[in-house]
Symmetry: C2
Subunit: 276 residues, 2 copies
């Protein structure tokens, strides 16, 4: 999916919501545990209940890997289910990978060939040859960690670069623009980073940002839109726990729909204010 | 396995060799392709041929994930085979993971509970709460990326920190020492980094270093030992392609043994010179 197709989906659905499929076997409703693949059954129900309200799904690989071989099956089935039934939905493999060139090439093969993801999150620490192997696929995206939503983002991401007089995350963002343009590169910026979005839009005025941290982590949707939205939206805002664990009874899917709808309605309003 | 047990293995085997199991289905001898699980069959043959010459194995998850569900099975079987047959061998899951606390906890569960790894490589970009969840397991290790072996290590790892007047990788190393001591924390330092080992030993005089990049990537074992070896060794030197793809005929396992033995003999000599 390219940038203008993504923007068209956003306009059509009046939503820039991504639903994070951080599915933990210990947190899903107990009646699902008798199913053959409880994780997949849970995801399927969430997807069927929310697909018209969001433009993307983001399974985080950690939650699947922790169940070993069975978990990897659930991940594969989940992505296939989305792509087979709702082909306009954008699938982000939240994997935070990155290794030497030879090895990153294998990860790219994993997420873009073996799995049918549209985008993968990538960690920048190992530099250019750890990122560029993911860029060799048409209409597939790298979403590079820039300024993350967690407390630990203060430890290294804001270190001041002595020669450039800017924090590390700005150097990461600027350097990566030599490797790809805004048709293949997005950045992760946490919703908890508030006013930092203003500076980020100076560095990346047209790039899409993937924004986690609304909801359980405490970020404000309105603040993100005030400082981060462009006239082509430029935002994919993720909510995981706030949507998928909205309720843990047999009505969990309906509850997830309500939680997603609440965010979608706020998003529709923000789009009306700021997007042509 | 704790630090003194690891050192004892090194003395006993006169080796600090780690064999990197970066097993690519496209590079293994063709006669194995008719086996039920060619990747596992290949690994098993390599392990049986080298286990007395090395102290560790390091499967890189990228190579397994790229084969999907089947690949994850091969990874699980490989680690189980090592642990069931050669329990003194140290197993490093080269995964380069790191995510927000809640998610890193799932990765820790993957590698230390679902899989039986002794150590996992972790990327530092997301800071403290992305690393500490891996530290909650007795005798299990975090191996943190510090100064990697690839060309891209120049892009961010050597950026000068304005307030501390030191490169980023030194800040990463120093900061991480607040989270764990040398009984749970090692660092990745590429063999290609040569003299940088001198500075690294000032920052981390007693920590083990995992050193990739000897062989195919061009690093020198002798240089690594000159600048990086402590009187308790303090080094785990990895070779992947140079050992496992030493030969692609039916004699591949014997060839891998010869390649491993060549390194082991050089290592025995270095240990004799430098370790009590």
């Amino acid at each position: 999916m390219n940038k203008s197709e993504l923007f068209n989906q956003i306009k059509k659905k009046e939503s820039f919501l991504c639903v994070g499929l951080d599915t933990d076997i210990k947190k899903i409703p107990t009646h699902l545990l008798s199913e053959e693949d409880p994780i997949f059954s849970f995801n399927k129900a969430i997807i069927d209940a929310t697909h018209d309200l969001c433009i993307a799904y983001k399974p985080n690989t950690a939650f699947y890997e922790s169940n070993g071989v069975e978990g990897w099956k659930s991940l594969e089935k989940t992505i296939n289910y989305i792509k087979d039934n709702y082909p306009d939905l954008f699938v982000i493999a939240d994997a935070k990978r990155g290794d030497i060139g030879n090895t990153s090439k294998m990860y790219a093969r994993t997420f873009f060939e073996s799995l049918r993801a549209d985008a993968v999150t990538v960690a920048p620490y190992m530099g250019e040859d750890s990122v560029t192997p993911f860029l060799g696929y048409a209409n597939k995206w790298v979403i590079l960690l820039a300024l993350t939503s967690n407390k630990g983002s203060d430890d290294f991401q804001r270190i001041l670069d002595a020669s450039e007089k800017r924090p590390l995350f700005e150097t990461v963002m600027t350097t990566a623009q030599k490797w790809a343009d805004d048709e293949q590169l997005m950045y992760v910026v946490g919703a908890t980073q508030g006013e930092a979005f203003r500076r980020i839009r100076e560095i990346a005025p047209t790039h899409f940002l993937l924004v986690p941290g609304v909801g359980a982590q405490g970020g404000s949707l309105q603040e993100v839109c005030t400082y981060g939205m462009t006239n082509q939206c430029g935002l994919i805002v993720n909510s995981s726990r706030g949507i998928i664990y909205a309720d843990q009874t047999r009505d969990f899917a309906l509850a997830s729909r309500k939680a997603a709808m609440k965010l979608q309605k706020q998003m529709a309003l923000e789009l009306l204010k700021r997007v042509d």
